[in-house]
Symmetry: C2
Subunit: 351 residues, 2 copies
């Protein structure tokens, strides 16, 4: 049964962030529109096995940029012009047509950029069990970005004590965790970011051994040689392009590169060329791309590791919270200019 | 004891191929000189634990091009201007100061481009056990190139029955074996090469399912889409540059790329840019460089597999043999123009 018998459905306003049209170059706020429609707070017949969600937090993530392009090249579908954006979020179940969920449950996973969402794919949602942490963490450290850092570093790169680890976009949703996880594994960790404020965070808050502002470096390869005179064992790739080239020239024997993202390339019409790939041969390097959703079966194991460390303050997490759906377009656009300091999240409603 | 007591050492002429100076662009015959010196056929005191070798076959291999550059970038040292080139070869032991070898043994491994070589590193030589195959095979299918094909395909790419395999430089010393090994594993195999003669070899001699002449394709990515409408599971990379870009755009989910060499890049002052690396993420691709000498502990296992298949005609091997040391410079230069058809070897002397 989709709706409880005898219940009178209430109609409320439902603010949405609409994707206007496909984007080239950097996205702009005007590529999105805020519209206010209405929604009947009742699971429609057409979504009988689904959920009616009230969205609490929405996540701004770099992988959303490729979805703004009209191409089949991406691993997730393009946004539909005229429809709300979609992405990761935290929501409360208002009504459930699915046996695994009930009214009042908190969930994280795929949802719409709007106040209320009818989810027809509850299989894409995780029920939130640990509620004694900030709920917004399920868009970050306890959600997709946390799993991304965990899988990319531990599963793909197998860090060993004493190894040299470099993280680009290091203060972001994923990078700040990669650095802290690598420190837990006994590695020497250097991160780069795009402002002095972020560099300070890396060194003083996240415990990176060293950090630098890549925008102040004329020669990225020389900067890396300065911070890694012995070379780099593990590179967690969030950036692509020139940074990857500089890293390839500074890798150590049997180095590993987890290719998580290439945010520097997402707004270019054609991606930059990478020239130093012969380093893969000379240095016997393994370079591997991954999509975190292939690894969600490891989520319980990850929670078991990370939740106690959050509670004991061994791992910290910095968020940049935009208040209200109205601020969501600017928050998403800001991500591609590096305006966020820490994980960019949008708070839509209180619990 | 370096020399047997009472033996009178004979002095003979020793023709050598001298490396004149560091090379930029394509190597030319004039980058090498043939000189005739003399050698005392006696292991000198200074090489007491070494071997005196008579060279029978020398191998022309693409990795020799980076050794012609004055840089520390390569995984093997640069050639010394004024000294003979060195490389893989097959030789006969004339005198041994090492307990593992004795006079009359046949060996393969590192030797000089000359008639006689004093080897001070017998640890780099393998004693030849199977003599009922052509001796020259130890520069190819039973030597470094054979192990390269074996390790790159089987160890790095784990081919599964029914997978789609693409091999570039497919008629060369390594490529012809990668294709045959992939067929043995039950894969669908397509190779590319640079002439109709080579394409015919791939299809008619080596049993590739399809083959094409890359020089006749305006659009490599389109050619690959034609031969692999479903995409490529495994790419054995011998070429680099534009070919790698075209392949990256045609890889399947969870594809694997063994990076063996990038011969198209070796003569360029600065390597071409590769633009499609975001495919690593979208398609969860693992790309791994390797150096065969890291894997020589697998040589006995490889011999056990391949020697019976050679004898039974299940695996064939095509060589392009240049006669005499005088022809060695042209043979080596020809490799970088694709003049060789099959494995390029130089015959120096009869047994």
């Amino acid at each position: 049964m989709a709706a409880e018998e005898g219940q009178v459905a209430v109609t409320v306003s439902n603010k949405q962030v609409i994707f206007n049209n496909y984007v080239s170059g950097f996205p702009k706020e005007s590529d999105m529109s805020i519209v206010v429609g209405e929604i009947n707070l009742k699971l429609p017949e057409s979504a009988a096995g689904g959920l009616l969600l009230k969205n609490l937090y929405l996540s701004c993530d770099p992988y959303m940029r490729p979805r703004m392009r009209n191409s089949s090249g991406s691993y997730v579908g393009a946004f539909q012009p005229g429809s709300p954006l979609s992405g990761y979020g935290v929501a409360k179940v208002l009504e459930s047509g699915h046996p695994n969920f009930e009214k009042g449950d908190l969930v994280w996973g795929s949802t719409g950029w709007e106040e209320y969402t009818v989810s027809t794919e509850p299989g894409q949602l995780f029920k939130i069990q640990h509620k004694d942490v900030p709920l917004s963490y399920y868009t970050g450290i306890l959600g997709m970005p946390g799993m991304t850092a965990y899988v990319g570093l531990y599963e793909l790169c197998s860090p060993k004590k004493g190894e040299y680890v470099y993280v680009s976009a290091a203060s972001g949703a994923v990078g700040q965790l990669v650095g802290q996880f690598a420190k837990l594994a006994g590695c020497y960790v250097v991160g780069s970011a795009g402002s002095q404020e972020k560099v300070d965070l890396l060194k003083n808050k996240f415990g990176f051994d060293e950090a630098f502002n890549y925008k102040e470096e004329q020669d990225l390869a020389a900067a890396l040689k300065r911070y890694f005179p012995q070379g780099i064992d593990i590179y967690f790739e969030n950036v692509g392009g020139k940074m990857l080239d500089a890293v390839l020239g500074n890798m150590r024997l049997r180095g590993r590169i987890a290719v998580c993202g290439m945010i520097s390339q997402y707004n270019l019409e054609s991606p930059e060329g990478v020239h130093n790939l012969a380093s893969l041969i000379m240095n016997r390097i393994r370079m591997e791309g991954f999509i975190v959703s292939d690894h969600y079966h490891l989520y319980p194991k990850y929670l078991e590791m990370v939740v106690p460390k959050i509670k004991e303050g061994e791992i910290v997490y910095v968020e940049d919270t935009a208040e209200g759906l109205d601020s969501a377009p600017a928050a998403l656009v800001g991500l591609f200019y590096g305006r966020n300091v820490g994980k960019q999240v949008v708070k839509v409603a209180d619990d």
